[in-house]
Amino acid sequence: MSWTWFHRLASPPYVYAFAARLTPWFAWPAALCILGGLWGGLVLAPPDYQQGDGFRILYVHAPSAWMSLMVYTTMAIAAAVGLIWRIKVAHAVAASCAPIGASFTFAALVTGALWGEPMWGTYWEWDPRLTSELVLLFLYLGYMGLRAGIEDTQRADRASAVLAVVGVVNVPIIHYSVVWWNSLHQAPSVMRLAKPTMPPSMLVPLLLMLLGFTLYFVAVLLVRLRGEVLGRERTASWIREVVSA
């Protein structure tokens, strides 16, 4: 197997140009999926037999929660790659993930609270799922705080990468919290080995939203990545070409 693609992905000028070219290919399909998912989730899907129209919070809550975990996992993998092979671009990916993940963790917590009040009778409970998701928000904020507190980018990269990698232990805890402990939160109905427990009219819009948010994440990540890559290069001559335009 040839490793040239891997080496090219570690080269800042290549990544900068490649990321710029790739962004619209993720952004437009993301917009289409999200619009389709919204139409399906708000208009076409029938009301739930127990929760009525209140269940439609699902279509923003589940994608936000998915983002909070998927982005963290991406960040931890990128951080580990950066630590092990000392690749600057990998650290740049990890640093780009954090603000995106933090904001969607916030969205997952707020939309969850807005769903909890009418269905459980409370906005918040110190429940395993809710508490571990809150810990995830603090992990993101800690990562960003640590980066902001260290002037030297290389040291910031390494220190924050260790935090990201150690914190990844929280991801399976969040996912399995509803299985391992008694939780107010329902068990997974889509992300499970057996068949999903929803009819297609409810499931398809949800899958569209999950796909749309994932594509959207890649698009936003690529934009942030270019900024991070640029900031890590002090003198390289390729910068002159890309910023003079």
């Binding site: 129209d53 439609r56 904001s103 942030r224 640029l230 003079s244």
Partner: protein
């Protein structure tokens, strides 16, 4: 339309949830573009400081 906006009585929970998520989606695009613009501006400043230096 009235019935749609009412969300079967859950309007006070459904619409704020959509609003918060929508805000996060839009803000992430704005923040990412701003971060890239800032990085480009600071790279430009670094380069001009270098070429005007001793």
């Amino acid at each position: 339309m009235r019935a749609f906006l009412d969300m079967g009585g859950y309007a006070a929970f459904v619409w704020p949830a959509y609003a918060v998520t929508f805000a996060v989606v839009v803000l992430n695009v704005v923040w990412a573009r701003r971060a890239l613009a800032r990085a480009r501006a600071s790279a430009r400043r670094r380069l001009s400081a270098r070429s005007e230096g001793p």
